[in-house]
């Protein structure tokens, strides 16, 4: 691809990389160090690049005094169930689009994907009266469903593309072995599709975990509030000055996603179908 043998190109390449790295990671770095600085250090006139006296007080306060644990729990419920439900639906929808030929398959898929073309804020305008009509405003099921509206098309499409690549002969071999369609899907196709399924789950989990707009609009009771609006309402207002707490809380809020990625990354290995055909 690129010839990196010359000194000049090496330097240019290294510098560019460093610049991009700085741009990407500096905010994260600042978040991390600020969360462990004492208030005195945080509010010193000259910012310190390294915390002089690292302290965990902000984390302790965030977790014990505020409503952060409750918000985290609410988010876990909302994101977990919407991701699970979304993945489940996308599995069956994606598989039927990929491996069955039925009338209206193509239009149905285009129609579904077209939902993707609207900005999600716009969808909210139609979701709101719908939820209101159905009595689902300010309820967890309402929020969970509205998350699915946005995540399902992409998820279905992702799984559809993967399932299309599952060799037909594999499915036919199972059919000849006497497996029913559902049995084939459950015992052959799903087990070899763990990586894309995990990816789709994470995608939809992240999408709802990071959401601010939907939760802010559809949920009004504080005890059902998720982490996004929770953080915003707790720390970003005129009276607040707890920057250390905000940093610590933000870190805590992103922890589940990071943890999920670390834990599930072993599923992102390639070549799961290796050895099936050829």
């Amino acid at each position: 691809m690129f010839d990196l043998s010359g000194t000049v190109s090496k330097v240019v390449f290294g510098l560019t990389l460093a610049l991009i790295g700085l741009f990407l990671f500096f905010p994260l770095y600042w978040l991390v160090i600020s969360s462990v600085k004492s208030n005195a250090e945080l509010y010193s006139i000259v910012p310190t690049p390294f915390p002089t006296h690292p302290t965990m007080t902000h984390f302790v306060t965030a977790l014990t005094t505020g409503k952060l644990p409750m918000y985290l729990f609410n988010s876990l419920i909302a994101s977990g169930s919407s991701a699970a439900l979304n993945t489940l639906l996308a599995l069956y929808a994606g598989y039927s689009f990929a491996k069955y030929r039925f009338a209206g398959r193509q239009p149905a898929m285009l129609f579904m994907l077209s939902a993707q073309m609207f900005p999600f804020g716009l969808l909210l305008i139609s979701i709101y009266p719908l939820m209101s009509e159905a009595g689902l405003l300010d309820t967890r099921p309402g929020l969970i469903l509205s998350y699915i509206v946005f995540a399902l098309p992409v998820s279905t499409y992702m799984l559809y593309s993967y399932f299309s690549q599952v060799p037909d002969e594999l499915i036919e071999a199972a059919r000849a072995d006497g497996a029913s369609d559902l049995r084939i899907f459950h015992t052959i196709v799903i087990p070899i599709s763990i990586p894309p399924i995990v990816t789709v789950f994470l995608y939809s989990f992240m999408w709802s975990w990071n959401d601010l707009l939907y939760s802010m609009t559809l949920i009004v009771s504080d005890h059902k509030r998720t982490i996004g609006p929770g953080l915003l309402l707790t720390y970003l207002n005129e009276v607040n000055s707890d920057w250390g707490g905000a940093m610590a809380a933000s870190l805590l809020a992103s922890a589940p996603i990071v943890a999920a990625f670390l834990f599930l990354q072993r599923y992102f290995i390639q070549g799961v179908t290796a050895g099936a055909v050829k």
């Binding site: 060799p167 002969e169 594999l170 036919e172 071999a173 199972a174 059919r175 000849a176 072995d177 006497g178 497996a179 049995r183 052959i188 087990p191 070899i192 070549g271 799961v272 179908t273 290796a274 050895g275 099936a276 055909v277 050829k278």
Partner: protein, 365 residues
């Protein structure tokens, strides 16, 4: 015990007719090979027999019972796919036992049958591996093992060896021949490889463009092809064809490019083309009477045999002559080609065989 019969089986995809009325019978314990050019419908026919696709019309009968609407697993048929189609997430033994587990066979019996098959196929030491940890040949054995453990009435193979290298192919071919001896089950085998078909099959079915061209034993097809297509398809290198030019001569001879050829009967009125296999031709000195004259355009030395491509005088047609491997021959050499009259096939304009060669017509001269 399984006899398979097809009566006027047709298959269309949309408005494309792929199989145009297949009549066929495969007897119990018989090994039938389907051969034919790419796209002629071999795989399609096999899939119909397996039950993976529904036939558009006609009848499919196994042991006297019409199975048109019987699902694959209930037909007592096992299919070995060209691409193996092993379940990648299952171990070898789970792959082989999958059908039995679905059928509710007792665990102990599954284990016994899988072990027996693995032993026979010499994959016993790999039964706990996943397919990706196996070589191509081992995977192919697992695919065959998966079929064997089901103890089917009929085995179907769709080009099972085409993904293997030459040496492994020969080995697996012998393996399949032994399996046929041992099991005595009805087998149907699709192949592109003439040698596989000729050596394994009791019966060869030559398909072309969705129709059966001829059914017969390997030697039948080789010696008495029913038409020009079969004559050209069976045998390697393929049969030489020469257009009959102008009028027939007296004394059972026809004029062709490069000279004239004797037949052992008087040439039929409709004779349009003659065919002679490379192994039934001899080189002789140019100008020999009753021989065709030409020039050696190219030679292929295969060790045991040498093939000489001779451009016949007065045309740009080339005919292939098989020679002894040791025979020295150089390009550009002028030669005569002697045709054994007993070995000449005569075809009509529409490709039917008018005169067949005498069996075992190999030129003794």
């Amino acid at each position: 015990m399984a006899k398979l019969e097809l009566h006027q089986v047709r298959k269309s995809f949309g408005n494309v007719d792929v199989l145009k009325g297949i009549d066929l019978a495969v007897d119990d314990g018989e090994f039938a090979a389907f051969v034919g050019p790419s796209g002629c419908g071999k795989s399609t026919l096999l899939r119909l027999i397996c039950g993976l696709d529904e036939i558009s019309s006609g009848q499919m009968i196994i042991d006297g019972q019409v199975v048109n609407d019987v699902p694959p697993a209930k037909r007592g048929i096992a299919m070995v796919f060209q691409s193996y189609a092993l379940y990648p997430h299952m171990t070898v033994s789970d792959n082989m036992g999958y059908a039995l587990r679905l059928a509710g066979t007792p665990r102990e019996e599954i284990r016994r049958r899988v072990e027996a098959a693995a032993r026979v196929l010499r994959i016993a030491e790999y039964v706990d591996r996943k397919p990706r940890q196996l070589s191509g040949g081992q995977r192919q054995r697992v695919a065959i093992g998966r079929a064997i453990v089901r103890e089917p009435k009929i085995f179907l193979f769709d080009e099972p060896l085409s993904n293997l290298d030459a040496a492994l192919r020969v080995e697996m071919r012998i393996e399949i021949a032994r399996m046929k001896e041992r099991l005595g089950t009805t087998m149907i085998y699709v192949t592109h490889d003439q040698i596989e078909a000729m050596t394994l099959a009791d019966k060869i079915v030559v398909l072309n463009a969705g129709k059966v061209e001829q059914i017969g034993s390997p030697l039948d097809l080789y010696n008495t092809p029913a038409n020009r297509f079969v004559a050209g398809f069976i045998g390697s290198p393929r049969m030489n064809f020469l257009i009959v030019q102008g009028h027939r001569l007296d004394g059972g001879r026809v004029r062709v490019p490069g000279g004239s050829v004797s037949l052992n009967t008087s040439p039929p009125e409709a004779a349009h083309e003659i065919g002679v296999r490379p192994e039934h031709l001899e080189l002789c000195a140019p100008g020999t009477s009753n021989a065709l004259d030409g020039r050696v355009a190219m030679t292929e030395h295969l060790g045991s045999d040498t093939y000489a491509y001779v451009a016949l005088d007065g045309t740009d047609e080339m005919i292939v002559v098989r020679l002894d491997g040791e025979r020295p021959i150089s390009q550009g050499e002028r030669v005569g080609v002697l045709v054994n009259p007993d070995a000449v096939h005569v075809f009509s304009t529409d490709g039917r065989t008018l005169v067949s060669a005498k069996p075992m017509a190999r030129n003794a001269a």
